[in-house]
């Protein structure tokens, strides 16, 4: 076989590719020679933050990953938990922040496409999508543009492929102005014993690439490696924007599941960021084998692609599988049935090297271990900042009048109805959706047999900015509380850590403290981490984003029919404030409207243990079936939560909390925020039956078409119509 092509890159190419001089030196040491262009391109991808987690891997080890229901933990394409009945639920959240900031429609769409491939790569049929979005204030035209296009992109992909988008969250805060966050979560179900892993095995087995043709998508950064002659060619030949094609992915999805169903595959892996390079090397690494890939056999969209371009292309809607030689024809026939391109492009080898060939010319030859395992991991140098690193938000409210405050909060972008967004998503397809957006705090899906799962995704980045440890705990508690409100018990958790540049000490501190908080909270609510994603370097010219550890929890409930609702249901039901509610104003939504500086630290109250106990008790109360509604108190506090309970079902309420509570600060009582507070309603007997740990305080009655609230000296008396107008227009006007 001819010798390795000697083509070398320019001396500083590695820096343009994001590798440090020390890393480049280490590559040379591991290889015993300088890498050529193809090899350098491969290293630059696999040794990137995205693939190697060089700044976060050590910290991620803190997260609890074990649990009785965990079937597949972090490390596979998606995690999976046991949901009974022989079924597994696979799920994962992933970011697509930077592509979305460049081209929000395609960035968000391909984000959804990517997370869906992670789900069917483990053999699960995707059943649901959630989105977690962060933009600058909607007063900014750029934020409105990003919001509109990102939502359209998510809808385009999810709707077209026939997977229901059943929930999500969106926040608007100044620090996301330059660097929006687009995180997407997907869930899928599979027969428990049919989950498939991605380890390539069986020397001599064939590697088949199937799905879309390979083009120059997403190789913007790597184009520094292009040979001069092509570089001078038309720049339009160097696109870096990936275009999503949900139609192709729909065929790919059905084809992949069909192949698995027929037990034709040894291993399956999606091609995500870093394309063929990372999927092939990771399959090889997990299987402790090597892989030969002949790039000349890769079907191309553009004829003149160089080998390195083929290896790093991020063209969407492609999968890689390993197949025994005797089954190759069958595999190709199944692909043909689904009108999916499929080509054998390589072979599993014993020698643990990734060998890249053009026909029979070797153009790259790297030890799998060097690529996948040898990237240096860095220790962070966390340091708590001595002064606030975020500017105070602009003041947008002056009034101290409780009623004016309530209306302003309902209309503010972080609280107003999300209908204008979620109506752009098909939340129904596949006929499982028992609780859709705005019907309950968590989305609920019925399973074959009548049991159900619930899911919620959450993170208030501003509170994490105030206190990374406590804020991360609150994100987990909020998610668990949402699940409790429908009666669901956590099974597992996924997370997406969206942070700024971890090489800066205060970002390192945010990241470290947040992960410590997540770890503590996951243990407390019984939600092991089965997967996740890290997105670092989210910074704009004006500084870093708020630290945003987005948390998605899935849970189970015994009966879909018994799933809780958030809206008051019947005239005459009594209303109670329950849980471990201990509200304070600093860091709240109201404090934001007042333009207050972010506090340095949030109170540790209720404690994690107390909050977790309250959440668990509430879940059991909802499961007991006596309550008519349950809603957790989040942004905007007690007052806003009451209004939401009324608006969800267009019934009023009369609330009288009696004389001033606590320190007599009525605004704190009405609009202060804390974890683990709930509003429930139901017949008096059901309220009286609540356990002591929920510390139920009867505070009113359902009925009428007004919301009247008396808390100490504070009086609110407002027609539901006025509340509805404020709440329903708040975001609709920003998205019109």
């Amino acid at each position: 076989m001819p010798a390795l092509s000697p083509e070398q890159s320019s001396p500083s190419a590695h820096r343009a590719l994001g590798l440090t001089d020390a890393e480049f030196a280490l590559i040379i040491e591991k290889m015993g020679r300088e890498p050529n262009v193809v090899e350098l391109a491969m290293f630059s991808l696999l040794w990137s933050e995205h693939c190697a987690y060089k700044h976060s891997k050590k910290l991620l080890g803190l997260l609890p990953t074990e649990g009785p229901k965990v079937l597949m933990g972090p490390g596979e394409n998606a995690g999976a938990v046991d949901i009974g009945g022989g079924l597994a639920l696979a799920f994962k959240v992933e970011s697509h922040n930077h592509p979305s900031a460049v081209e929000p429609f395609q960035g968000a769409a391909t984000g959804v496409g990517g997370i869906l491939r992670d789900i069917f790569a483990v053999g699960a049929r995707p059943i649901a999508i959630l989105d977690s979005l962060r933009f600058g204030e909607p007063t900014s035209p750029r934020s409105r543009y990003l919001l509109e296009r990102a939502v359209a992109g998510i809808g385009h992909y999810g709707n077209s492929i026939g997977v229901a988008t059943i929930g999500g969250e969106v926040y608007f805060e100044g620090p996301y102005e330059q660097n929006c966050l687009i995180n997407a979560m997907a869930l899928g179900i599979a027969d428990r014993d049919k989950l498939i892993r991605s380890a390539a095995a069986g020397v001599g087995n064939i590697v088949i690439l199937f799905g879309a043709l390979t083009g120059r998508d997403g190789i913007g950064g790597a184009s520094v490696l292009a040979s001069a002659e092509l570089d001078e060619a038309d720049q339009s030949k160097r696109p870096s924007v990936q275009i999503g094609d949900p139609f192709e992915e729909k065929k790919l999805l059905e084809c992949s599941l069909d192949l698995l169903d027929r037990e034709l595959l040894v291993a399956l892996q999606d091609l995500g960021a870093a394309g063929l390079t990372s999927s092939a090397s990771e399959m090889a690494s997990k299987g402790e084998v090597g892989i030969d890939i002949d790039v000349a056999r890769v079907p191309l969209r553009e004829a003149d692609m160089e080998p390195f371009e083929i290896m790093v292309s991020e063209s969407q809607e492609r999968m890689l599988c390993v197949v025994e030689p005797a089954r190759v024809d069958e595999v190709l026939a199944v692909c043909a049935h689904w009108e999916v391109n499929a080509t054998a492009i390589g072979e599993v080898t014993e020698r643990r090297f990734m060998r890249i060939l053009v026909g029979d010319v070797v153009v790259g030859d790297v030890a799998v271990e060097a690529l996948v395992d040898d990237c240096p991991l860095y220790d962070l140098s966390p340091q708590e900042p001595s002064h606030p690193i975020y500017p105070a938000p602009p003041r947008t409210l002056d009034s101290q009048d409780p009623q004016e405050i309530l209306v302003a909060l309902l209309a503010c972008a972080n609280i107003a109805s999300r209908r204008a967004i979620f109506e752009q998503y098909d939340c129904l397809v596949q006929s499982r959706t028992v609780r859709r957006p705005e019907q309950a705090d968590a989305a609920v899906l019925v399973l074959p047999g009548g049991s159900a799962i619930a899911v919620s995704i959450d993170c208030n980045g501003r509170r994490v900015a105030c206190d990374p440890y406590r804020g991360a705990i609150e994100a987990v508690l909020e998610c668990a509380a949402n699940l409790a409100c429908v009666g669901a018990q956590p099974l597992g958790l996924t997370n997406c850590l969206n942070f700024g540049n971890p090489e800066k000490p205060h970002i390192a501190w945010q990241l470290t403290r947040s992960i410590e908080g997540l770890a503590a909270a996951c243990a407390a609510v019984g939600a092991p981490v089965v997967g996740g994603n890290v997105s670092l370097y989210n910074e704009g010219n004006e500084g870093p984003i708020y630290p945003t550890p987005v948390v998605g929890i899935v849970g189970e409930l015994p009966s879909a029919g018994g799933a809780g609702r958030l809206g008051f249901a019947r005239e005459g039901d009594v209303i109670a404030l329950v849980g471990a509610f201990d509200p304070t104003l600093p860091g709240s939504e109201l404090a934001k409207l007042y333009g207050q500086e972010l506090p340095q630290g949030l109170p540790n109250s209720p404690t994690l243990e107390v909050a977790a106990a309250a959440i668990e008790a509430l879940r059991e109360a909802v499961r007991a079936g006596g309550l008519a509604s349950a809603h957790d108190i989040a942004e905007g506090g007690f007052g806003v939560a009451l209004a939401e309970c009324c608006l969800a079902s267009a019934i009023g309420a009369r609330i009288d909390c009696g004389p001033a509570v606590g320190d007599g600060d009525d605004l704190r009582a009405l609009f202060g925020e804390s974890a683990a507070g709930f509003i429930v309603s139901g017949p008096i007997a059901a309220i009286e039956a609540l356990p002591e740990v929920l510390a139920a305080r009867l505070c009113g009655e359902v009925g009428g078409d007004r919301l009247t609230i008396t808390v100490g000296a504070a009086q609110i008396d407002v027609a539901l119509g006025d509340l509805h107008a404020a709440w329903s227009q708040g975001l609709a006007s920003a998205t019109a």
Binding site: N159, S160, G162, D245, F247, E339, Q424, A560, G561
Partner: protein, 226 residues
């Protein structure tokens, strides 16, 4: 009754349609590339994004081999129900009058809407009581029903408009609030709302079941006559 549910590349709602039809009889999937109708008594052309909605909704699916069999089945008087993308396909195929245009908002909308049943004497609505209102979801980007005015007059005069969006519920700007129509012979129906997503109160509503029951009753009567 045995209902065939047609599946194209990009179809999404075929499983839902099958589940719904299974509540009133047997079902089978009809693959777009085949021609064999497998002895079905009724056909559903379900929703989704056949061929990715590329070029024009429904434009490519209508040429599938299976659609030739569907057209022949319809010519013989067999009941055919097109839901959403299925409606678009049947219009493109000339089995129903009119066309579906982009929603006035230009956006995809997923929403529970109220429908007025405008004609309860059809193969698709006979299980509804006269004056019935149905709560059924819509979800589409291209659902604005259009036909020339003269065609609309004729459709209305003939009782071919069978479903309308209730006042205030027209989500897409359809002319005359039209949500569903039948052909002049009454055996082919197209509608934008999704009755297959409304067959169980657990998931929101069971009003859509009336359409499937109507088809079952129609097929039962037809077989008695035959």
């Amino acid at each position: 009754m045995k209902t065939g549910v047609v599946r194209f590349p990009g179809t999404c709602d075929e499983v839902d349609a099958q589940l719904a039809a299974a509540m009133v009889g047997d079902t089978v999937i009809l693959w777009h590339g085949d021609r064999d109708l497998q002895g079905v008594d009724a056909i559903i052309v379900p929703g989704g994004f056949s061929y990715g909605d590329h070029l024009r909704v429904g434009a490519i699916a209508r040429f599938a081999p299976m659609m030739e069999s569907v057209a022949a089945f319809a010519r013989d008087g067999g009941p055919v129900l097109g839901i959403c993308n299925g409606f678009q396909i049947l219009c493109e195929a000339g089995l129903l009058p009119g066309a579906l245009l982009p929603n006035v908002s230009l956006r995809f909308i997923c929403r529970q809407v109220d429908l007025d049943v405008a004609n309860t004497a059809t193969a698709f609505t006979r299980a509804c009581v006269p004056g019935a209102k149905l709560s059924i979801p819509i979800k589409h980007t291209t659902g604005r029903y259009y036909a020339p005015e003269a065609t609309l007059d004729a459709l209305e005069a003939d009782g071919q408009v069978i479903l309308r969006y209730a006042p205030g519920h027209n989500p897409n700007g359809s002319q005359r609030d039209i949500a569903g129509v039948i052909n002049d012979r009454g055996n082919v129906c197209g509608l934008m709302p999704h009755p297959e997503h409304a067959v169980d109160d657990l998931t929101g509503s069971s009003d859509g079941l009336r359409l499937f029951e109507s088809m079952r009753d129609h097929v039962a009567d037809a077989s008695v006559v035959a």
